[in-house]
């Protein structure tokens, strides 16, 4: 357990030491999104009855910040360690592959939640946002950040260069996030796009998370929970498998 806790501590200390870049900066950029959308769309759109667009948007933006930072944490830590070579210190140690997996994922969850919580607390100053079912919200935000932490670990292990990691981020994570209903309800989409949105696992994370705030969602939160849990399991098994066989780590 000490080994796992040490690696977790090291992962937390790593992003904490550069907190301006890893926590404050993503909070600011998320709040900028909010500022822009608030001014442009507030008067035009009401998503759910009685829920103003900005109020609808905030949980989506919080989840987007969580997703992006959970992914960024494990992926950048892993690729930096690989490229600079200091991953050798972890690989030489008796740390089990499960301990390595859980330490990276938990650190990603913590960073994701810190950024998300920061955004949420700032928005509370200006907006009145209901949080009707906080446990549902917590459940989805933890599962969502765990999925992205595991995806980040996979991407960090797989990528040999920073531009491969950037490609993973820009061509997979970003489109899946933006097309998941962060900024809108999928019921506002044409029917074809609605079907496509159902294939996007990120949609279920955000829809379930939003259910925790408003008590309404595009689809049943139980279905979302099941899909998100299955995604987490599959992605985690893949990441653990990569660590176990030493894919691109132990040659």
């Amino acid at each position: 357990m000490t080994g796992f806790l040490t690696l977790l501590y090291k992962e937390l200390l790593r992003f904490w030491k550069v907190g301006f870049q890893t926590i404050i900066a993503p909070m600011v950029s998320t709040l900028l999104y909010l500022l822009i959308f608030f001014h442009v769309l507030e008067v035009h759109t009401q998503v759910y009855p009685g829920v103003a667009y900005t109020t609808f948007l905030i949980p989506g933006l919080v989840m987007m910040a969580v997703i992006q930072n959970a992914f960024a944490n494990s992926s950048s830590s892993m690729i930096q360690s690989k490229i600079s070579g200091n991953i050798v210190f972890v690989l030489l140690s008796p740390l089990s592959y499960r301990a390595i997996f859980f330490a990276y994922i938990l650190a990603s969850i913590v960073r994701g939640l810190l950024v998300g919580l920061g955004v949420y607390l700032v928005t509370l100053i200006f907006f009145d946002i209901p949080l009707l079912l906080p446990l549902w919200a917590l459940l989805f935000v933890v599962l969502g950040s765990a999925i992205l932490g595991a995806l980040g670990l996979i991407a960090g292990i797989w990528a040999d260069k920073f531009d491969q990691l950037a490609a993973f981020q820009n061509f997979i994570i970003l489109p899946f996030t933006f097309l998941s209903g962060v900024f809108y309800t999928i019921h506002s989409l044409p029917i074809g796009w609605q079907y496509l949105s159902h294939l996007n696992p990120f949609f279920y994370m955000i829809d379930g998370f939003r259910y925790g705030f408003f008590g309404v969602s595009d689809i049943s939160p139980y279905i979302s929970l099941m899909i998100v849990a299955i995604c987490l399991m599959v992605i985690s098994l893949l990441a653990i498998r990569m660590l176990k066989i030493g894919y691109k780590l132990r040659y």
Binding site: T2, G3, L13
Partner: protein, 308 residues
């Protein structure tokens, strides 16, 4: 611990990358308490072998045990018994020296290791850099931290992959004194180096690798002792001419120094008598004995790759 248990046991290990084999059927036992050198030219397979022992690389066939623990099936026990100083100067730029050592210690499941960490910081002359970020250290200091990291869990077996490459004389001496002390305390030491005089002075036994195969494995003394040629006498003479009776012994004549081959020490008297009889005056004289470098050069030259 079983008295006959080797510290490192390598059995029939092969490692190939596609058609290129870095190691072929390596068998090697390194005994507990030994100071052992793994020598060979660049690309001979030394680092690959170390990587397999350390679990950083998987062998295609064969098995490796560290203190009796298989490095793949019992990897946790094997790694607890092993400390490795990597060849590359790697470091984590986020942390100070002390943080680095505490983190490394924690990876091995050791809590509250402050006393031992303070001791290794002290013994490796890192005390005034203990709270400095790793990025700010010189190459030599980073090398010391790498050594300290390999020792945080007090491993019985320590492998140093070219620990003195690019290191100044003072650090080299500090390092060797420290490592000799560790060996005297019972640690098994395995090192690779291109400085053969270091290996000759420090190591009890030597394995020489070439093209992924062990071409010599013996005690340092035996390897040197087996050199049938190599003793020679170097002379600067006045006048600068060699008596005809000695010309058959001449190996070289370079910068006014004659080098004469001698079979044994009694042969020296014959040479001196011949010079006296010709009224040659000796201005300078050196007795050259074979060393590990001669053994190395000789073995590498004579052990050609088999024809395909």
């Amino acid at each position: 611990m079983h008295p006959m248990l080797p510290a490192i046991e390598v059995k029939q290990v092969s490692k190939c990358y596609g058609s290129l084999c870095a190691l072929t059927d390596i068998d090697l036992d390194i005994h507990a308490g030994e100071f052992f050198a793994l020598l060979g030219p660049n690309g001979a397979g030394k680092t690959t072998l170390i990587s397999i022992i350390a679990g950083l690389s998987h062998a295609n066939s064969g098995s490796v045990r560290v203190m009796g623990h298989d490095v793949t099936t019992q990897y946790q026990q094997a790694r607890r018994n092993l400390g490795v100083v990597p060849q590359e100067l790697v470091f984590d730029p986020f942390f100070t020296v002390r943080e680095t050592l505490f983190i490394q210690s924690g990876y091995y499941g050791i809590k509250g290791n402050a006393d031992w960490i303070d001791e290794i910081i002290e013994r490796l002359d890192l005390a005034d850099k203990a709270n400095v970020n790793m990025r700010a250290l010189s190459g030599g200091m980073k090398r010391r931290v790498l050594v300290a990291q390999a020792l945080v869990h007090k491993p019985p077996v320590i492998i140093l992959d070219e620990p003195t490459a690019g290191v100044d004389v003072e650090l080299r001496q500090t390092l060797w004194n420290f490592i000799q002390q560790l060996n005297q305390d019972g640690h098994t030491i395995v090192l690779t180096t291109h400085y053969l005089e270091e290996a000759e002075t420090l190591c009890h036994r030597v394995a020489m690798l070439k093209a992924g195969k062990i071409i010599a494995l013996d005690s340092t003394q035996n390897l040197i002792g087996k050199m049938t040629s190599g003793n020679s006498l170097k002379l600067r003479l006045l006048p600068d001419t060699l008596p005809p009776v000695l010309q058959a012994l001449q190996i070289s004549h370079h910068n006014g120094m004659y080098e004469l081959k001698i079979e044994n020490y009694a042969h020296v008297e014959f040479i001196l008598a011949s010079l006296r009889s010709e009224n040659n005056q000796i201005l300078e004289m050196h007795l050259q004995q074979p060393d590990l470098e001669d053994v190395f050069v000789n073995l590498m030259r004579n052990h050609r790759k088999p024809a395909k």
